[in-house]
Symmetry: C2
Subunit: 519 residues, 2 copies
Amino acid sequence: MSQTQARRRRGGGRAGAAARRGTATLEQMPWKPPTNIDRPVEPLTEEGIAAIHDGAMRILEEIGVQFLNDEALEIFKEAGVQVDGELVRMDRDFVMEMVGKTPSEFTLTPRNPDRAIRIGGNSMVFGNVSSPPNYWDMDLNKKVPGTREHCQNLLKLTQYFNCIHFAGGYPVEPVDLHASIRHLDVLYDKLTLTDKVMHAYSLGKERVEDVMEMVRIAGGLSHAEFDATPHMYTNINSTSPLKHDEPMIDGSLRLVRRGQPVIVSPFTLAGAMAPVTMAGAVAQSLAEALCAIALFQYVRPGTPCAIGTFTSNVDMKSGAPAFGTPEYMRATQMTGQMARFYGLPLRSSGVCAANVPDGQAMWETSNSLWAAVQSGTNMVYHAAGWLEGGLIASPEKFIMDCEVLQMIQRYMDPAVNATGPEEIALDAIREVGNDGHFFGIQHTQDRYATAFYQPFLSDWHNYEAWEAAGGTWTAERANGLFKQIINEFEAPALDEGIREELQAFVARRKEEGGAPTDF
Amino acid sequence: MSQTQARRRRGGGRAGAAARRGTATLEQMPWKPPTNIDRPVEPLTEEGIAAIHDGAMRILEEIGVQFLNDEALEIFKEAGVQVDGELVRMDRDFVMEMVGKTPSEFTLTPRNPDRAIRIGGNSMVFGNVSSPPNYWDMDLNKKVPGTREHCQNLLKLTQYFNCIHFAGGYPVEPVDLHASIRHLDVLYDKLTLTDKVMHAYSLGKERVEDVMEMVRIAGGLSHAEFDATPHMYTNINSTSPLKHDEPMIDGSLRLVRRGQPVIVSPFTLAGAMAPVTMAGAVAQSLAEALCAIALFQYVRPGTPCAIGTFTSNVDMKSGAPAFGTPEYMRATQMTGQMARFYGLPLRSSGVCAANVPDGQAMWETSNSLWAAVQSGTNMVYHAAGWLEGGLIASPEKFIMDCEVLQMIQRYMDPAVNATGPEEIALDAIREVGNDGHFFGIQHTQDRYATAFYQPFLSDWHNYEAWEAAGGTWTAERANGLFKQIINEFEAPALDEGIREELQAFVARRKEEGGAPTDF
């Protein structure tokens, strides 16, 4: 029995008790990342795929991408790629050869191996909102800068909900923590309050190395064990149009060299940082992502990577970003087709422009989450808690989104579509005939407990019962659940020795001054 | 120039002015029923389709459906179908032969021929909420019985929004009008406040005949002209399980004989009026619909019909109906596959269980509307305004739903997915290079006005601007728009002679006592 297994076994009782207590607060679905059984929606014809591919390749061949990272430039030179100053132009043969080395699927294993997640193929995993600088909840009823407590509470929701499969970046920026040591405190919180896969920001050598070390310690892993398989990941954005910045590439290379995955997600707002036409915005986004993935594959062939899409459009009246729009949905679906063309796992997001968790928030978020389904997205970032185009994290929105995510999980259960004799149920229909009802019959009794999706937040009472119970709108109900969950939250099991090792690491690195803040 | 054309031409100026005034209130998308360009989602395998078909056929062959309508029973006997009392059992050859006579597409032409709608193929049309007995708006903030004024206001929204293509049943039951004359007053309101396709309730001979006559008068049609092509329709529900009631079949037969379409929409709640298993509920729903369509095709081969799905599930805790659930989505998609198997146009709905226009309302409604898209639904009932499982109509919800419907209309615009050289936009990307932005370039300027979906209700401002403008949640903003639209509403053009003829008809029928109220 390995050390990890032993810890897990010891921890099982406590985690089990927490889960049981969790069940007391609300009945949620079990941990079971969905397998996407739907054929993707394909807005592009074969010619369309070829046209976007050719566009992306010509961007890389003829226009080029700036890499503001000396190490990357040296590597590209070594690879025989054309480098002029910071401008890198690579031909399509090189790009396709390198991108072709990317594994189509990989597994990320966090400190609790039961929470390992598969990225690629038909698997679909959901992560919490990442990186908003601000926080909003119904009690405050205003937008405030994020704090460590807000961040901790959102991490508790991340851990609590079985439909949240990984912890992305900070669910809110705790700006009350000095930037030099913020990553140490938040990673400590993440690693002690959750046992799910997590992420390192590529914001300078020290942060990346500290996070890898803390994830290694939390997993009870030797350096060799850490390097052997993916345990965490980073997500980088290009600086659109057509530029990769120093720290993003630096952090990625550090992870790549230790076998940890990189997700490359250009943020291409059509009409601002990308063409006003969606196919052009997608082509540019692909070019920006593929050249970085080509670099990583050259450095370490077969290193796990995924391509991210964050192509939306601006409001042409105000220049403000829009999310969950028809154009966003189609761009996500198009990118899905292209990701399959390149054989790459896909990341997209759950997003909205709404400022509060209201009707608009939910139709925009629903649009983006269904686009994730329709595009064959493997990894859904920001799947719970996002408001104001990513500038606000909200616990109510988090909980509301989890209801939608659970419905997607249930939607992907093949049992719903089963057509065996027991499901066609001719005998049951015969038994009830032309005058009865199905409530009381055995066929129903045998199945009623699991036949249908059971919501934890939706109120299916009629108006009178709903009104008698207080007449609360969805966001208010979510606020009540939020406080209940935080009150009852119990952290997942963690070996005390490991906790002390993490604490000692954080203390030592703080004494050393943490990380530079000149990013 | 026909009388109708002349009227339309004369009316054009006024209707045009109204449309322009409408534009002043909010910028909405033009009248353009979407063409569904997506391949449907298909949860059923070929074997699954065969199993559900076999189930439906065996229900009709072995169990049978009650027709509480003597005329139908006589017709079935004449057709050689097995009739035992009120129980009708028909073999699959008869069903398939009759159903096979149904046209796969047809056109419904209302009094304004510009508002003709195509039912079938890839066309998709949206109708207002139909038949809630109650009304809710934010000013009342309570559920009240519907009135004629509520009904008129919802009809004004039906007319105002270009994304609402047909007027279904009464958008709310005006219970302040006596049931004997309600249909006369509401039809007068419908025919004068809107110029879109409408519906007759199959609730007894008098109502059906009155509505057909009023639609004929409003269209300026001779009896022969009315009978020659579809101008209106009825929608009937079976009384599940496995029963068709007297007035529904009576009304349908009256329409069928005058060439007007019938939509048959069983209301099969899994676990209550249908098996707890979705495939069984779908099979039963199909059996109930197909036997009625077989009857109508026997009576008038080739008469336009459509199949409706209203298969959802109950909350097994309370027995309350649930809507917009994962099971609802899959049942709708399954029925779509079966409708294509039978060559029938499909009707589904925009539905939710929520009691107020909040987050839950919008994720449930979004789920059902995307299921309509995914199932290849042709006619979306209740697409705007529905709350509380159909027991409440709300103008705020109506307006919120219209934003989602407009997004679906835009989503189906092939321009979003175009991949020509101008859309790949390599020259624009080259022009901007690695440091510029796309706002100011010619490629953007040439397209900015139409490049993206423009919302009328969504607020895309950042939090601070949104807060400064009042910090209103979506439903409040919809309430404001509602009052603006009602204030500025101008009815569509109508020839004064026709208006007088309608008024005289209503007056005469009221003098005669209207319709019996013993239904």
